[in-house]
Amino acid sequence: MAAVAKEHGSATGNGKRWHDQHPELGTAPVPIEPYISQEYFNLERERIFRKVWLNVGREEEIPQPGNYLVKDLPVCGASILLVRGKDGRLRAFHNVCSHRSNKLVWDQRGSCQMFACKFHGWTYGLNGQLTFVPDEESFFDLKKGELGLTPVAADVWEGFIFINLDPQPQESLKEYLGEMGESLQGYPFAEYSATCYRWTTELHANWKILKDAFQEAYHVAFLHKRSIPDSFTGKNNPFSHGLDYRLYPRHRKMAVYGNMEHQPTPVEKMAFQFGSLVIRNDFSLSNLPPGVNPTKDPSWALDLNVIFPNFFVDVSEGTYFTYNMWPLAVDRTLWEVRTYYPQPKTAGQRFSQEYSKVIFRDVIMEDCSTLEQTQSVLASGAKSHFVLQDQEILIRHDHRVHEDFVGFYR
């Protein structure tokens, strides 16, 4: 399924189009309805978010037995409790007491030996078993062994924790990630995950508006002309054409061009001198694994890896960043942004990371405005479709995958 077309990797353009490799996608405009329809949103909840593997965190967040993490999933009206057991195993449960369904754990993270419900004191072990019921004798035929927390399927890929709300997942996490998972094998996620900076924001936009914006680079030369004027565009590639695109059955990736003649600002230059940056200044070919920068183009900045439905793992050299887009309503999205770096050993490296996250954040400030401005006029009916060009093929593919799951137009 993965299409490899090295001759298309040219940043200068050679008359060939990525869409030629994927005639099944067509070239027609794509409908706006999925971004504004409540009916479509309801189907996404049932047919996507209740069915597929969802990234909810990283293993570093709960390293020790007793460590727990709560992940609320408003789109499914669910809250998930992730806990590291005394046996070192990671387990996931619905965060719901078996008595009268109070939310069991209210804080976001912590460490404990057992979970006691605030409402009536029902108590559970780290393995989810119900261990204590106050005034147990007053219940009727209470079978404590059958009243543990409701388990949720959980698995880990490269340190990323995924859960699946389907009581019987259709496939394993490894099968679900398929070639996308394999392509990132060998990337130093563990080393680069020592330091994590995180932001969250609630945007007034459909979650797919966010996804679309971060799976194309066409906008860079315009929306980001002040913040990153020459990092991802250059004389030979004024419109930030991708070096490589790969489409998998559900997931997809793009290798993003980096301008070797990028002129760093004074502070950026200093930051680079003391550490590494999202915007690469050192274009010597790296030791990154074969699946990263797959064409091994020297003018490479980073790979966008879009894991269906709502998880981006964008990898560069010395750093990577992730996005999780969580739908709250048809026109509201909780967006989690994280940037990861190796452990800084010196003040200079720490300064470098600070610069890197500030420029990263300010670029995103430009994106966020556009996302909300777009959503604010989508329901006007002025347009019924988005017009996509060749370099927006990942968006087109996403529409196709959505329809495969949702079946709205079938």
Binding site: R198, I359, R361
Partner: protein, 126 residues
């Protein structure tokens, strides 16, 4: 000590208020007028940037940028997790340089041009 105290009294902050005592390592006393930028969290640094005029931002930028090589060389002698308090403040000053750099070098105004409301983009980290 008393003589030092007198010297300390001469140092003024940006707002012209006398500083009670030195807050930065001795070699970097020239940066003391900008000690108000020594803030512990990204949120505080970003708020100060957005609440400052470009003249204030520019004067801080101009003062610390030429000192950065020396600042980093000085700070690099300490383990990151065991820095004396004055060095820690100096380090957070460098973070504020990172914070204001985009205002000076890219946007020519304190905030991101056509940018999102920064208070809505909430750092979970420090």
């Amino acid at each position: 000590m008393e003589i030092e105290t007198e010297k300390e009294m001469e140092i003024e902050t940006e707002k012209g208020e006398p500083m009670a005592e030195h807050v930065l390592p001795e070699t970097f006393r020239d940066l003391e007028p900008f000690a108000g930028w020594a803030l512990a969290t990204e949120k505080e640094r970003n708020q100060k940037r957005l609440a400052s005029t470009m003249a204030e931002i520019q004067s801080f930028y101009d003062a610390i940028l030429p000192r950065m090589e020396a600042v980093i060389a000085y700070l690099n002698q300490f383990p990151l997790d065991a820095m004396p308090a004055d060095a820690q403040r100096l380090l957070s000053l460098t973070f504020s340089l990172a914070e204001v750099s985009t205002a000076v070098e890219l946007f020519k105004q304190p905030g991101v041009i056509d940018g999102y409301d920064a208070t809505r983009f909430v750092p979970v980290h420090k």
